[in-house]
Amino acid sequence: MSAVTAIPARAGIGFKPVHFDALLAAPAATGWIEIHAENYFGAGGPPHHMLEALREQLPLSIHGVGLSLGGAEALDRAHLRALSRLVERYRPGLVSEHLAWCAHGGQWLNDLLPLPLNRATLDHVCAHVIALQDALGRQVLIENPARYLDFEQPEAWPEAEFLAELSARSGCGLLLDINNVVVSAHNLGFDAAAYIDALPPTAIGEIHLAGHTIDSAGPLPLRIDDHGSPVDAETWALYARLLRHGGPRPTLIEWDTRVPTLAVLLGEAACADARLLRLAEAA
């Protein structure tokens, strides 16, 4: 297996098996790829054949979606072992997980569930992030989730400050999903730009961009993070603001439902690359 290849401050795409042939034929079309770790917890077969072939050509980022770092229970040791094996096998440039929980009482809930952001939660998540980094022997990036609700509690922390403190205490980096900020800001009623300005720029190791939908069926129109459409104008504007504020960063286009052709996905990536290039030229 190739040595670790650092993820460049360019646009990358989430790898979908349906794009394998097209991508392998022209790997230079993207700067790097990202996969969901849990889809590669099997021992072999076509998923690993594809990944090994692409890994020879492109820098790889491994994004975990199921470790439940915010779970009140102990980390799942078997999950941690499987993730460690995958990281050891593919030596990715970046490894990331979420500020969320998704398991309780031996049941796994297939979503990134919200946490009450307070001192006790910070202590808890911090310990889990440190355990993860110790198990992998490297820094991980922690991503802000899309949120649809908040908890009633005394001394709640704004999420950006919580993440800044988590990074300072655990040594983790941050994966800033700007679409998630847009979605959460709308749903919970905070200022997206102020959120982004409150993050420590040096801690941000990667950016995610994606599309969302608006669910107007209920009494309250909620923005739903479904990764099933182009990046919207508000997200692009905040992306430009973040780049000015923090400098260029590896930027992933995520598109997980109603997956488009590779050409459409690369078109979105080209929009991100154009902004990264403009920044480099201005510097």
Binding site: H48, L113, L149, G218
Partner: protein, 260 residues
């Protein structure tokens, strides 16, 4: 119990059941029930999709509406035990047959078992097939006592219905017409290279491989085959299985070792 653990216990119960009250009391602002419903829908929708991806032919046979309704019931009753959904839904075929109209079809649990076997083979460890040349290096006298490992995660099925034909009929769009009457079929599902194979076996070959898979030596396995079918032609059948890459040169790892 920590406050966070209590909160997550009630949140999990609300997502999989109907008791929202303990969580709703903890939420800020109006429209708390609609907000919680987003998470419930995400969880259910994701698990229904995972089951649909695991059982694509069963979904065609039952129709999307019935399949998704059954998948939703199953997901709430038996959520996954861990985050790798690669092996989620092992009991789903049997679960579907609780529904009288589904059970009346007769072949649903067997078709589900076939799709399940295909998925296991898809994610199975790669292996080097045992070939005749390697086998020929063994002294002939040792052959009867020889144990042989099947391909990793290979599944043997003995079916009352012709499920391989039912499965194949759905590879076409629209699906080809298929016989729904019982007709026994013995199958081996494995992945010699990158394509999952569904190999139809004679009853004797099924007995031979079942015995070998349980660790019996070749001579005892051959006896099992002849017990099922006195006319079982060991040499010809074994040569065909060998040529098809059914045996692995490595001992098979314990099932599920790769999954957490």
């Amino acid at each position: 119990m920590s406050a966070l653990l209590t909160l997550q216990a009630s949140f999990a119960a609300a997502l999989l059941g109907d008791d929202d009250e303990p969580v709703l009391h903890r939420l800020r602002g109006p429209h708390a029930a609609s907000r919680l419903a987003v998470y419930r829908n995400n969880v259910l929708h994701g698990l229904i999709e995972a089951l649909g991806a695991a059982y694509p032919v069963l979904r065609q046979v039952l129709g999307a509406e019935l399949f998704d309704a059954l998948a939703g019931e199953y997901a709430r009753e038996q959520p996954p035990r861990h985050a790798a959904l690669l092996d989620y839904g092992a009991g789903f075929g049997a679960f579907c047959e609780r529904h009288a109209a589904v059970a009346a079809l007769g072949y649903v649990a067997e078709l589900a078992a076939l799709e399940r076997a295909r998925l296991r083979a898809w994610h199975a460890a790669d292996y080097r097939p045992l070939d005749a040349a390697t086998l020929a290096t063994l002294p002939a006298a040792e052959l009867p006592a020889q144990q042989l490992a099947l391909a990793p995660e290979a599944t043997l099925l003995a079916c009352r219905y012709p499920v391989a034909a039912i499965h194949a009929a759905h590879a076409e769009t629209p699906p080809r017409a298929f016989a729904q009457t019982p007709q026994a079929q013995w199958l081996l599902v494995y992945r010699p290279q990158l394509q999952v194979q569904i190999r139809e076996l004679s009853p004797g070959a099924h007995a031979l491989l079942t015995a070998l898979a349980s660790g019996e030596p070749l001579a005892a396995a051959a006896d099992s085959a002849r017990h099922i079918d006195p006319t079982f032609e060991l040499i010809a059948e074994f040569a065909a299985l060998l040529a098809a890459g059914v045996f692995s040169t490595h001992p098979t790892p314990p099932p599920g070792e790769s999954l957490p």
